[in-house]
Amino acid sequence: MTSTYSPPPTISGPSGPRAGFWQRFAAAFIDGIIIGVVDVVLRLAIGTAGSLLGIVVGLAYFAYLEGGPSGQTLGKRALGIRVYDFTHGGPIGYGRGVGRYFARWLSAIPCFLGYFWMLWDKEKQCWHDKLVTDVVVPVSAYPVR
């Protein structure tokens, strides 16, 4: 009796629960409003230097909160999602939080293609997730410890 080897199918989805597009969109919208208001106030208060300071505030906000133990900005907390290390699990750390902030710019540059990428990516990763090797997951499946 002979057996025929069939290669495994290459069709696959994510390796675990992932935050959906609209959850991430809503979280980014909330964070955008928060950072946007701070940016406007800084610009009105100190002019052009306020724009530069706005970038620093944005960097500090995202790097500190997404790199911290919870991996949650205020927007992500509101939506019950968090940034999670794809390789080892847990927080990504502040250094990668800084990297993720700048990688986000790369995702936005080609008409936000890097953000839309998660719609057809196997692990539902945007470009900035891939660049710092993270995933965005629901807290219900990956609770903050």
Partner: protein, 118 residues
């Protein structure tokens, strides 16, 4: 992107498609007819694969197919896919990564030519 296929959530893609169609109907009616300027083109003068898509999808849903094709032919295809997803409501959706990569490459080549870069 490598070869193979990836299974995506049809419900999520359907909702994004519905939002896209809704915006395409709505945007021309808004004051100032807002669009989405391409950061890559603003920074470097080089268009990206998605340049012209807002115009193309807007023109398609308003029946201006020639204008849509001139801006980015992929907008016509994307509108058709969004409508098909809403009508057929498939339970499973499998996308070919190779086909997606080829589509993006084709779109970019078209836009680079349209803006006289190549």
């Amino acid at each position: 992107m490598t070869g193979g296929s990836v299974e995506v959530e049809p419900r999520e893609l359907r909702s994004v498609g519905a939002a896209m169609l809704g915006l395409a109907f709505l945007l021309p009616a808004l004051p100032g007819h807002p669009g989405l300027p391409c950061p890559l083109r603003m920074l470097t003068g080089i268009p990206c694969p998605l340049c012209g898509m807002t115009t193309s999808v807007e023109d398609t849903v308003h029946g201006h197919v020639v204008g849509a094709a001139a801006a980015n032919p992929a907008g016509i295809a994307l509108t058709a896919v969004a409508v098909a997803l809403l009508v057929t409501r498939p339970a499973r959706l499998v996308l070919s990564r190779l086909a997606l990569a080829a589509a993006l490459a084709g779109m970019w080549a078209f836009e680079l030519h349209r803006f006289g870069v190549v």
